[in-house]
Symmetry: C2
Subunit: 174 residues, 2 copies
DNA sequence: ACCTGAACACCGTTCAAGT
DNA sequence: ACCTGAACACCGTTCAAGT
């Protein structure tokens, strides 16, 4: 188990390298194997399938998205930063978007990111339900901006408007 | 040209059928050919490549998204309807999302949709620049909601908040 | 436990050759 | 103008067999 986990880790890293270089098409079991000095068939000892490996790779890069500290007082800039970090990670690894089209991701890293976002929204004073919706809206917009290749100033406009709307809802409660 | 265009049209329709049935993986030139009673190689007379065919198919279904009339007075419900129509089209043909990851779409149908959205935003009284940003924000959110599999009530929250923000910007101008 | 070799059932694309 | 056949260089996955 310790040895095997290490191998799987190596395989995922090599897969990410391949994906970053040539996109989703360039991840083939044969190519990946030869890069690791191994047969394509041998990969199946460590990984269930190409499909599964892709999901593992996607969750891994998701885990590289920085999560800003929660102790700051302003929730808006934190949300903006998280959206921007997520968007730029998705643009840096566009194959993650392709991975999402084959199956909704919910690896541990992705879940940790979602929970962090939710925590920020709750800290703003929104009700639990509104915070959940606000958090989901932010990821939705960030993911959409990557897939739709939305230019940065447009992203900023959309996010600001969204948060303005959320803030109005918040103000209406007090 | 008349005959050939008809053939290309048939090929695209058959491709869409295949894609709707089994997703992006199930569109193969060989399978498509055999469904049309033709060799895979023969398809290349009508279509440049599989990649190209996929983009043609995506633009075709984009063209099936209804565009609401512009004569209504309320821009908000029109925008909400357009976002909802787009989202449900994307969910009905999830392979369009995969197509977007291989290349930003800009077929005629897609462009017509974008222009319609822009026209609605401009009719609201926003400046040209703000209208462009608002329109882009709406597609971004709709596309994101399909890829992120955002549940419908969450989509509604996000879109309402976004439009609240836009409306505030509009009110500030007058 | 981990890996190889060979096999199966596929791919996209090109291109000479047919009609 | 439109299509076929054959070929090339690939795929993912399984599985007996090796160590």
């Amino acid at each position: 188990m310790p040895r095997d986990v290490l191998h799987q880790e190596q395989i995922i890293q090599a897969a990410i390298a391949l994906l970053d270089e040539g996109g989703i098409e360039s991840l083939s079991m044969r190519r990946l194997g030869s890069r690791l000095g191994i047969t394509a068939a041998a990969l199946y000892w460590h990984v269930k399938s190409r499909h599964d490996l892709l999901l593992l790779a996607a969750d891994t890069v998701w885990g590289r998205t920085p999560l800003p500290a929660l102790d700051g007082l302003e929730w808006r800039p934190v949300l903006l930063a998280m959206a921007d970090n997520l968007r730029s990670m998705l643009l840096r690894h566009p194959w993650t978007l392709a991975a999402m089209t084959v199956q909704p991701l919910d690896g541990p890293a992705r879940n940790r990111h979602d929970e962090h976002l939710l925590a920020v929204c709750e800290a703003s004073g929104l009700t639990r339900r509104d915070a959940e919706q606000a958090a989901q809206s932010v990821v939705t917009f960030a993911i959409g901006s990557a897939l739709a290749a939305t230019p940065r100033p447009y992203v900023s406009f959309g996010l600001q408007s969204l948060l303005d709307g959320v803030e109005a809802r918040l103000a209406a409660r007090t």
